[in-house]
Each structure stands twice: as structure tokens, then as C-alpha cells.
């Protein structure tokens, strides 16, 4: 068995860094692969516009990669920072930070591939609107990065948190749970936001006149899709900043870990579902602009109802933290 605390901390930070960069790179790669596949398709449709399409793909990829670069920064910090702490809690915090950023980058990486791909396809269909299409794609994929930014904030706070003399026994679970909560909940919101942005690019290529309404609907839909990741952030902050009384029982630790897992996984489904709703609404705003108000209202109600399972997960998490 390892008895040396420094070794365990090193192991935890290396493991966290590996998860972080591995998952972050996979997410960005899937997104870029989607964009590249769509670009191939559109170049084969319209070979004479290949220059424009490749330019669009380049710019889209550069922005879509941001989530992966966040993961890289966190991984480098985890590997090269010399943790002089002799507290075992540091190991939990560093591992939690790696998990948080790794999972948080997947959703945004995959998600921001959709607007890039749809924009490439749209360029082959409607060459005259290339400027508007690219602007819309960039706004969409920049908003997609929000869950990844949330995860980066949480993992930086976990890395640089002043552990002090907090009791080890339940706090390790709280720190690990804080990482899982924000990181995993960000997957759904990132993918949902990406679906919405992709639909908006497709819509603008179909009917460029409706640019204003489509962009507004997209932004509102993406903002509401971010709600599950905001819930995840809320649970993380509570787990990080509440001081838990020392107790050596297993159940106290498992309650805190369970709170993080519950909110994290509970956020995936509603995030994707909200994205699907916004996707449908954005697509049809461009086809039937007269019904835009009706569509926005239905989208908001539908998204609100499909969020309710995320809210149940948040309630269970809060019960696990505060009541049990």
C-alpha cells in the first residue's frame, strides 16, 4: 500500500490530467470529424466553392477547439504544478478538477462541431450568404463554450482552493462530487447548445431573410439549454464552500459523492432534450416566420417541462447535502 502522501497526490494529479486531456481531445476530435465530414459532402456537391468551404471550416475549427485548449491548460497545470501540501484532501481536489474539465470539454467539443458542419453544407447550398452564415456559426459555437467555461472555473477553484485544516473524512467526497457535478452536467448543455446552433445555420442557409429572428430564437434556446449546467454549478459551489463536520462514517461521504453524481448525470438528458426542442423551433422559425412568436412560446414551455427531471435531480442532491 502507498503510505506516502506525496506519491498519492502525484498519482491523483497525473490521473486527473490524463482523464482531462484524453476526454477533452476526444470531444474536440468528434466535433471536428463531423465538421470535416460535412465539408467533404458539400465540396463534392459544389467543387467550385471548395475555397470558401475550407475557409469556413478552418475558422469554425479554430473556435470550436477552445474547449479542448481549456482542457489542455488544466492538464498542464495538474501535471507541472508542485503541490507542496501534505494533506490527502489535495489528491481528491486535483482528481476532481481533472474529471470536471475532462467531461466538461466533451459536450462543448462535440456540440460546436454541429454549427461548423451545417454551415459548410449551407455554403454549398446558398453561396451568397457566406458572411452572415459564418457570423452566425461563430456566435453559436462561442455560446456552446459556456459549459466548458463553467467547468474550467470549477476546476481552477478546486486546484487553487485553500484546503487548510478541513476534516478529511467527508470532505474528500464533497470535492470529488463537486467536480463530477459540473463536469458531467456540462455534457448535455454543450451538446444541446450545439444542436441549436447547427439548426440555426441550416435555417439561415434555407431562408437568409429571417436572420434576425433565427439568431434571437437560437440565443434564447441556448440560454435555456444551459440551465442544467447552471444547476450543476450551483451544486458544485455548495459542495465546495460548505464546511462539513468531521465524521468517519462511510455514509456521510457517500451522501456527498451521491449528490455530485446525481446532479451530474441528471443534467445530461435535459440538456440534450432542451437542445432538441430548440432545434425544432429554430428550424421552423425560418420556414414559417409568421409563427415565430408562437414557436418561441412553445419552445420555452417545452424546454421548461423537459427540465423538470434535472430539477428533481437537483432536489435529491440538495436533500443529500443538507438534510441527510
Amino acid at each position: 500500500m502507498f503510505t506516502d502522501v506525496a506519491t498519492i497526490i502525484k498519482l491523483a494529479s497525473f490521473g486527473g490530467a490524463g482523464i482531462c486531456i484524453g476526454l477533452g481531445a476526444i470531444g474536440a476530435a468528434v466535433g471536428e470529424g463531423y465538421t470535416a465530414g460535412m465539408a467533404n459532402l458539400s465540396i463534392s456537391h459544389k467543387p467550385e466553392r471548395s475555397g470558401d468551404i475550407m475557409k469556413n471550416m478552418l475558422v469554425g475549427q479554430a473556435v470550436a477547439e477552445s474547449a479542448g485548449i481549456f482542457a489542455l491548460v488544466i492538464a498542464i497545470v495538474l501535471i507541472f504544478m508542485d503541490a507542496s501540501s501534505t494533506n490527502l484532501l489535495t489528491a481528491a481536489a486535483l482528481f476532481g478538477a481533472g474529471i470536471c474539465m475532462g467531461f466538461g470539454a466533451i459536450g462543448s467539443g462535440i456540440g460546436s462541431g454541429y454549427p461548423g458542419g451545417e454551415a459548410c453544407l449551407g455554403l454549398s447550398r446558398q453561396p451568397s450568404v457566406s458572411n452572415r452564415l459564418m457570423t452566425n456559426m461563430l456566435i453559436g459555437s462561442a455560446v456552446c463554450q459556456t459549459p466548458a467555461i463553467f467547468s474550467m472555473v470549477v476546476s481552477l477553484m478546486l486546484i487553487f482552493k485553500n484546503i487548510g485544516d478541513l476534516p478529511l473524512a467527508p470532505t474528500w467526497a464533497a470535492l470529488l462530487g463537486a467536480g463530477i457535478s459540473t463536469g458531467v452536467a456540462a455534457i448535455g448543455s454543450g451538446m444541446g447548445g450545439g444542436m441549436t446552433a447547427g439548426a440555426s445555420c441550416e435555417s439561415i442557409a434555407r431562408n437568409p431573410e429571417t436572420l434576425g429572428r433565427v439568431t434571437t430564437t437560437m440565443l434564447v434556446g441556448q440560454a435555456v439549454s444551459q440551465t442544467p449546467s447552471i444547476f450543476g454549478l450551483l451544486v458544485s459551489f455548495i459542495l465546495m464552500f460548505k464546511t462539513f463536520p468531521e465524521s468517519s462514517t462511510l455514509s456521510a461521504a457517500m451522501a456527498l459523492l451521491g449528490a455530485g453524481i446525481c446532479m451530474g448525470f441528471g443534467g445530461i438528458g435535459p440538456g440534450i432534450g432542451n437542445g432538441m426542442t430548440a432545434q425544432g423551433a429554430v428550424k421552423w422559425v425560418s420556414r414559417n416566420i409568421e409563427a415565430a412568436g408562437e414557436l418561441m412560446r412553445t419552445m420555452l414551455v417545452g424546454q421548461a417541462v423537459s427540465q423538470s427531471t434535472a430539477i428533481y435531480a437537483m432536489v435529491i442532491s440538495l436533500v443529500l447535502v443538507f438534510v441527510v
Binding site: A169, S248, T249, L250, S251, A253, M254, A255, L257, G258, A259, I261, C262, M263, G264, F265, G266, G267, I268, G269, P270, G271, I272, G273, N274, M276, T277, A278, Q279, G280, A281, K283, W284, V285, R287, N288, E290, A291, E294, L295, T298, M299, V301, G302, Q303, V305, S306, Q307, S308, T309, A310, Y312, A313, V315, I316, S317, V319, L320, V323, V324
Partner: protein
């Protein structure tokens, strides 16, 4: 660490509650979102039927949410009864 039988049971119940609600929320969330997306498409096609379509969407969502509610019930049972 003093780990006793009752403690292990409690710990398992807590983490089980978290897992139940966490994974139980995935399916209904996606499903309800899918239903709402289809309702939006239908309203785009026929805006004059918006009231009926919204009601149908809500009924469908309520039905597909029932599995989420089952998970909630199970989680609460695990938390407070076990």
C-alpha cells in the same frame, strides 16, 4: 475507520439514491425534449392549431415524465425509508 453493517447499508442507500435519480433523469429529459421539438415543428407547419398541439405536447410530456417521477419516488424512498 469504523465501518459497520448499518453504515454500509446507509451509504449504499445514499449512493443508490444519487444513481437512481441521476441516471433516471437522462431518458425522460431527452424524451420530453424530443416531444417538444416535434411539437415546435408541427406548430411551424400549422400555427392555427397551436393550442391543441401545445396541449397534446404537454400530455405526452407528462406521460413520458412518469419514469422520471418513478426515479424520484425511488430516490426519496431510499433516502428516507431505508
Amino acid at each position: 475507520m469504523a465501518i459497520e453493517g448499518a453504515d454500509i447499508v446507509k451509504a449504499a442507500a445514499f449512493i443508490g439514491a444519487g444513481l437512481a435519480m441521476g441516471f433516471g433523469a437522462i431518458g425522460p429529459g431527452v424524451g420530453e425534449g424530443f416531444a417538444a421539438g416535434k411539437a415546435c415543428e408541427a406548430i411551424g407547419k400549422k400555427p392555427e392549431e397551436a393550442g391543441l398541439l401545445t396541449r397534446t405536447m404537454l400530455v405526452g410530456q407528462a406521460v413520458s415524465e412518469s419514469t422520471g417521477i418513478y426515479s424520484l419516488v425511488i430516490a426519496l424512498l431510499l433516502l428516507f425509508v431505508v
